[in-house]
Amino acid sequence: MSWVAKLAAVVGLVALGFALGFQSARSPDSDAPRGQLSGLGQAITLAQPAFAQEVEKSFLEEEAGISLYVNAGEEIDLSQAKALYKVLEDETDSYLIGTVELSGYDEYWWPHVWIHKDGWIVVYYLKEEPTSILMDWFYYERASGGEISTTTLREVLFGVASELKLDLTKIQRDMRYYHWQYPEAKKLLVVLDTTDAGSDAFTYTIPGSLKLYEVSGSHFGNVGCCGRWSQTAIDGEVFKKGGDGKYVTVGDLAPKWTSQGVTHEVILRHYGGWTGIALFFLYG
């Protein structure tokens, strides 16, 4: 056989080999929605096996809501970490759980913190609290507004990490948010509006195709004294309001304000100082 024939045969075999290799390596589910098998024209929903449904819930799944966690990448000396707690709820050779102060806030705002000696730190609020408790208005005010650069949980996480002399660059890079009661939620959107001009407004529309898990708000007022007030209304009804002084109030939005496919209007009003509203959308 001449070299041309051999070359043609080799090229053909190589081409065949590549083609077969591509077919076998390509995952049939890579472009398919989760739980569906490809190529058969049929959808098969995978059900959770019975034994998996009986796995006991972890303490975080039982009690935690919104959280911020990180693995510091190094072991943590629990004897040093213990001093950071305001209230220590449990202590073992492996971990500490309790409450850590959020500077500048009263006890309602102090999150729980779980520190594991292997380097895991989870800072979280209890599941009864709305996700909007993340809004750190006092930091935002000190920073003269602008972008949202931190949250209440982030402030505590960095405070703990700093005291323990952990790598803050790694903390910033690797920290993640997660809501333990909404494991399917994939995105958190925060929309913030402020005014010192008496009133301001904006609208939001949640598409009908979006899977919405929670919408909550954080209303802030720093209006001074006396006879001053601030208010956030949605679709003409008061969501949160306050009188004189400086305050933050949080809460979930009522179902009528989270109906999808319709435009909702938010109106801020105040008398004195300034006011702000931050809406937190959890969806996936």
Binding site: S2, V4, L60, E89, T205
Partner: protein, 211 residues
């Protein structure tokens, strides 16, 4: 190049073309989902921030090793944060939703003066989860409390209910007691409380032979 060589080459290339994956689709893989919808926001001078939510699987496994414990909410924190008797603590206690009554009891005991009218109204609203704390609460605040509490206790454990009742009723010093006991503060006197019917215990069962 001879014809058969060309045919072999062409066949190989044709096979390659037929079997090569086409773009990103290839064989049908099920319904194509639309991209994740976004919430539409309209307004001036708005600030937006977003982040993804995700869970590290290793964290969940580690969390399952944590043993059960009593979770303290901000009620316990309040006890520590305000001095006893301060108006701030009274106000906070009225708003606090304790998860554990220990916090409530310790909280109330610390913040309100003994036998004050404010505490009477507070305890009438309290719904104890652990009655022991309710009893301890009452003991420390009422040397000789109003009879209303004796009439309205809602004990979950009868012994504790008895102790509670015993403590809050007026105690008349007995004329038969030595004089030096006249000033003794009330204490738990179980014998004075109705504990329910008692059962007579029979003789122990006989042990089997050769056991």
């Amino acid at each position: 190049m001879r014809l058969e060589h060309l045919l072999i080459l062409a066949a190989g290339l044709l096979l390659l073309l037929l079997l090569w994956p086409r773009g990103e689709g290839g064989a049908p893989v099920g319904p194509i989902l639309p991209p994740l919808a976004e919430i539409e926001i309209e307004g001036e001078s708005l600030t937006k921030w977003s982040t993804g939510l995700s869970l590290a699987p290793a964290l969940l496994g580690l969390a399952r090793e944590v043993r059960p414990r009593i979770v303290l909410a901000y009620a316990a924190l309040t006890t520590a944060a305000y001095p006893a008797g301060s108006p701030e603590l009274v106000a906070t206690a009225q708003k606090t939703r304790p998860r554990i009554l220990v916090a409530w009891a310790a909280l109330s005991t610390a913040i309100l003066p003994q036998a004050s009218s404010e505490f009477a109204s507070e305890t009438s609203k309290a719904r104890p989860r652990i009655l022991v704390q309710g009893a301890a609460l009452t003991v420390s605040l009422y040397p000789q409390g109003p009879p209303d509490h004796a009439a309205n206790p809602a004990p979950r454990i009868e012994v504790q209910g008895a102790a509670r009742s015993t403590l809050i009723q007026d105690i008349e010093p007995s004329t038969e007691l030595p004089e030096e006991t006249g000033g003794v503060a009330p204490r738990i006197v179980l014998e004075a409380a109705p504990l329910g019917e008692t059962e007579e215990l029979g003789p122990p069962p006989e042990l089997p032979e050769g056991g």
